[in-house]
């Protein structure tokens, strides 16, 4: 099963790639830092004797996306699983004072993600056969479930992406293509590095195992760590009148 990972240099993406490489799958690693992606591909080739190719990819260069998908499919003989793993948290305060910063966050996390998903959807719909179905897995965040002052540019872009994936899921169903949304809570990545909290922080490797398991089981929406489903259920239930006064 050929696997395409977009945003392959994140620690979670690396761990997902390692899961698939260990299972003997072929990989295509696309990332903004193509040299880094190549080092990751080299690692998979040595550790797992995997077939892994690296390529440059810019989430904000929308026009380049169909060609990238075509190149990945060409290199691997098709795409069975595509994981949209890239993202940019940005700095909330900077985004508030400089709209170009906010725009970058929106373009990477929403517009760019939607652009590659559209290219993937077109490709997978055109190439779906009886024995080849395809999965698109988008990595989103629990921060997209409710807007908060501390990260609402990132949260709203990811939340929009989650809604987009929901719609795409229904659309792709008749093509036999499955769409999964992975909503991640705290995972030990640069985003949470140094975070002082009593809430458990999952390892990227554990998150990767949960995501690949979710893909295997054709989950629609995956929360990981799983307790976040209940946390977000409770947070979404707080009346706005009260929520806006909370400093969360």
């Amino acid at each position: 099963m050929p696997v395409l990972i977009l945003g392959a240099t994140s620690r979670i993406a690396q761990a997902i790639a390692a899961e698939y490489a260990a299972a003997g799958e072929t990989l295509y690693l696309a990332a903004r830092d193509a040299d880094e992606a190549e080092r990751i591909a080299a690692d998979l080739r040595v550790r797992h004797s995997a077939t892994a190719t690296a390529a440059a990819f810019d989430a904000r260069d929308f026009d380049s996306h169909p060609a990238l998908i075509a190149a990945a499919a060409e290199a691997m003989g098709g795409i069975d699983i595509a994981i949209v793993a890239f993202g940019e948290t940005g700095e909330q305060k900077e985004s508030e004072s400089d709209f170009r910063k906010a725009l970058s966050v929106i373009e990477v996390n929403y517009t760019g993600a939607v652009s590659v998903c559209e290219a993937l959807a077109a490709h997978m719909a055109a190439h779906a056969t009886e024995n080849r179905s395809g999965v698109i897995a988008g990595i989103s965040t629990v921060a997209g479930d409710r807007g908060r002052p501390s990260n609402y540019f990132y949260g709203s872009a990811k939340g929009g992406f989650s809604l987009y994936l929901q719609g795409l899921r229904g659309r792709m169903r008749r093509h036999g293509v499955h769409v999964m949304t992975a909503k991640l809570g705290f995972v030990d990545t640069p985003m949470t590095y140094g975070l002082k909290t009593r809430i458990p922080i999952a390892s990227p490797e554990a998150a990767a195992r949960a995501i690949t398991r979710g893909i295997r089981r054709r989950k629609d929406t995956l929360y990981y760590p799983r307790f976040w489903r209940f946390v977000m259920f409770a947070i979404k239930a707080i009346p706005e009148r009260l929520f806006k006064r909370l400093s969360v």
Binding site: T9, R11, D33, E36, R39, A42, V46, R47
Partner: protein, 454 residues
């Protein structure tokens, strides 16, 4: 943009303990970004934190954590050449390559060290007398300089920088990757011969007789005195031929989670009584004078790794390891003098190791030099420990020996300069590579290795 986080850091000896501003790098680009935005602050790369003292500590400055620079970049199964990033650990190399019939050319007493740290310390192992240090098996190293530029150093290109980086305590630049040649082994087993030795004479007899074994090391009882000075167990080893079966040791029967120093974390655990009991039991565990058996690589090379975080057993005050080498001497005067000084000192040498080194090759700060090395762990007893060490420093320096910087937390500048006469030559190369003195550590400040050039 690099996020810095203030963390409490300590070496393996848990002394000193500092608050450090840290950046965790996920890629070499993160390191370059951190250098570009360092805002005049000094920097230091830190791997797995297994240096005992302050070699991987930087009190005011930015500590670059390299644990996530852990990619293997290439491997040639015909020749054994492995190219990997600095944060790859020896544990990972053994885990991945032992099943393929390869083993690191040099391993220290723990497998939880990064290859970057292994080069920066120019580590030695039980095979030093035949294989030399880690850097003797490294063909090139990729170094990130304080200018943000990446240079590849080897024996021909930037050869002085290459040599100064080996044992250079991370002060020449940030080690990004290296090529190291793994050795072929036929099986994951080790043939081991252990001989009970009653004193130093018997140790040297056993060590001489085992000169054709690639691995040799002795456990030494630092509390033994007089005619028993140097009492211990000498252990020689070699990689076993294909198909060798091993017997599991008793520790293998205990579930992992019960083998943790955390469970025994106490300032009272190691006292005069327990130190004596431990040393006596270790000696008497071997009933016959001479035993030959086959063991796995883990119990042979990394016996202490079986107990997770064993350093916590020394409690909150931490411990010192005093590791030194003294040049060969038929009468072993300096060796006897140091061992007597230790056993008469009312300190508590808990665990000791002794080994004969082979030839020296280094760029100024590498530790091994021909002679005998002894390493002993002492619970931190404050002045009592420190005054013993300064008496030992005098004996060692007078004899033309030295202490191991990677294990050190307290050596003075004068003693250091007597022990490492090549330090100035090393510093010239270092200063040329990093003229602004960006790379520093608490150790380099203590020893005057990165002072401003006058």
């Amino acid at each position: 943009m690099s996020t810095t986080v203030t963390q409490q850091l300590e070496g393996w000896g848990r002394y000193p303990r500092i608050s450090a501003e840290c950046v965790r790098a996920g890629s070499r680009r993160d390191l370059q970004d951190a250098i570009a935005s360092r805002d005049g602050k000094p920097m230091l790369a830190r791997g797995m934190g297994r240096a005992y003292g302050d070699a991987a500590l930087l009190s005011s400055g930015i500590t670059l954590l390299t644990e996530r620079l852990d990619r293997i970049l290439g491997f040639d199964a015909d020749t054994g050449w492995l190219r990997c990033e600095a944060g790859v650990s020896i544990a990972e190399i053994v885990r991945i390559f032992l099943p393929r019939g390869f083993f690191p050319p040099v391993v220290p007493g723990t497998r939880f060290v990064s290859v970057g740290g292994a080069l920066a310390s120019d580590i030695h192992g039980k095979n030093h007398h035949v294989a030399g240090t880690w850097s003797s098996h490294v063909r090139n190293v990729e170094l990130l300089k304080s200018t943000g530029e990446i240079v590849v150093c080897d024996a021909d290109h930037e050869s002085e920088l290459f040599r100064a980086t080996a044992g250079g305590q991370g002060l020449t630049g940030i080690i990004l990757s290296m090529e190291i040649r793994l050795i072929r082994v036929e099986s994951p087993a080790v043939e081991m011969e252990s001989i009970r030795v009653r004193n130093l004479e018997e140790f040297f007899e056993a060590s001489d007789a085992a000169s054709d074994w690639p691995y040799s090391v002795g456990w030494i009882n630092g509390l033994a005195k007089g005619n028993s000075l140097g009492r211990g167990i000498f252990m020689a080893g070699r990689h076993a031929p294909a198909g060798t079966r091993v017997k599991k040791g008793p520790l293998a029967l205990i579930p992992r989670r019960f083998l943790s120093g955390r469970l025994l974390q106490s300032n009272l655990l190691l006292n005069g009584l327990t130190a004596r009991m431990f040393n006596a039991a270790y000696y008497r565990k071997q009933l016959r004078r001479n035993i030959r058996r086959n063991v796995g690589v883990y119990p042979y090379f990394f016996p202490l790794d079986a107990v997770h975080r064993w350093n916590l057993m020394y409690g909150n005050r931490g411990f010192f390891q005093y590791q030194y080498v003294v040049p060969p001497d038929p009468e072993h005067r300096a060796l006897r003098q140091t061992l007597s000084e230790i056993s008469n000192s009312r300190t508590l040498p808990v665990l000791g190791v002794i080994k004969e080194f082979g030839p020296e090759q280094h760029g100024g700060l590498s530790f091994p030099t021909p002679g005998v090395t002894v390493a002993l762990d002492f619970p931190n007893q404050g002045d009592r420990s420190l005054s013993l060490f300064s008496r030992l420093d005098d004996i060692v320096a007078d004899a033309g020996g030295r202490v191991y910087l990677t294990k050190d937390a307290r050596l003075g500048r004068d003693a250091f300069r007597r022990m490492y006469p090549d330090w100035e030559r090393w510093k010239v190369v270092r200063d040329a590579a990093d003229p602004d003195g960006v790379f520093q550590s608490d150790l380099s400040r203590r020893l005057g290795l990165t002072d401003a050039v006058d």
